[in-house]
């Protein structure tokens, strides 16, 4: 049983181009959404009878589909929704920067210990994962500099094949080969491909369900 918490993808310009989470207990995205929902419920209670409750439908679909970030800007005219979205955005941006900083520094120090550090970066030292007492962070860097960071429970020791699989068969297949995904090599573009999301989500669900623990 593998418990996957979340996944970050960073491009070669140090930008988080994709984030998604599955079983994350505390998150800058859910924390605010929870408060939005309670607020929405209060509003709905007040307005009962006056407006049809479409919040219910929205939250039901939310719980089925994992949260992703960055998302397209909220088109809602509701000022409150917008401000909450921007608060979430800021929180997520901060988090992504921190994660990138931690991972990059860890990788660099490992490279240094191996005497293989240099301005070209890369992962010659072979940084694969680190663990705390609550989670394990897995790291994979493609030779083109795209970085995948996956957090799981501590019992899961090796996710290298999984991350490689995500890069080779999901990222390359649905992002790089997607003609609509505009790759300008000098600008970061977030991944907003539904197909990519769906395939990734299925794959993660599959490995979460498989009882064989990769040891």
């Amino acid at each position: 049983m593998v418990l996957v918490y979340n996944l970050y993808i960073f491009d070669r310009h140090c930008q988080c181009i994709y984030y998604t989470e599955w079983n994350r207990p505390v998150s800058p995205l859910t924390a605010d959404i929870a408060s939005v929902r309670t607020r929405a419920k209060e509003v709905a209670r007040v307005n009962q009878g006056r407006s049809s409750d479409d919040n219910g439908a929205a939250s039901a679909s939310d719980s089925r589909r994992p949260l992703v970030w960055p998302t397209a800007p909220v088109s809602s005219s509701n000022a409150k929704d917008k401000s909450i979205a921007s608060v979430q955005n800021v929180a997520m941006e901060e988090e992504a920067k921190l994660v990138y900083g931690v991972v990059l520094s860890t990788r660099n120090i490992i490279n240094k210990f191996n005497g293989k550090d240099g301005p070209q970066g890369g992962n010659p030292g072979g940084f694969m994962s680190f663990a705390t007492n609550t989670y394990r962070l897995h790291y994979y860097e493609a030779p083109t500099g795209v970085k995948f960071i996956l957090n799981t429970d501590t019992a899961t020791t090796s996710m290298q094949p999984v991350l490689e699989m995500i890069y080779r068969n999901i990222y390359v297949e649905y992002v790089v080969k997607n003609p609509l995904f505009h790759i300008d090599p000098h600008v970061s573009v977030p991944i907003e491909n539904d197909y990519f999301r769906a395939v990734l989500n299925n794959y993660i669900r599959e490995i979460s369900a498989s009882s064989t623990t990769t040891a």
Binding site: R12, H13, C14, G121, P143, Y167, R168, P185
Partner: protein, 189 residues
Amino acid sequence: MSAKQYKTVGEEAWKNNVEKVNAELFIFTYGSLVVQLVKDYEDYTAVNKQLDKMGYNIGVRLIDDVLARTGLEKCADFHSTAEVISKVGFKVFLNITPSVQNWSSDGKEFSLIIDDNPLNDFCELPPRAVQDGLWYSNVFCGVIRGALEMMQMQTEVYFVRDVLHGADVSEIRVKLVKVLDEEVPANDE
């Protein structure tokens, strides 16, 4: 890895992991693309430039595909890069293996010699085009440049001679300008 191993990698990938399309369809599609560019730009230098640009945009994506198919790691030096371009890159996408020759003494420049460029099949350039220096397969240069840039190598890639211009082989020169550093996050404190 030695040159021989790269050859095996390329051949394996070509045999097992590549969806093939009809060669003639591909060649004619490319031919009509070039013809259209010539019509649109009415200037062969501009066509060269446009082909290079298209190639670049292809190259920046293609590199990920090559790596995903073959599982190759970063090359240790520019010599192995040259081997990979010829024995894996060209092999996987075009089923040809240009030979790597004419290394410069500082090891930063080499030539790819192509004697069987499939794009040249059924193609004959009008004298004007030869005279004004249209490099029919200039898209290759862009692809190589784009792919190498994603591997943090800034290069200049250009045609030196072409069978279509009457030479006995085609030659592409690849010149390493510099190795780019990895980007680091902007300090925003």
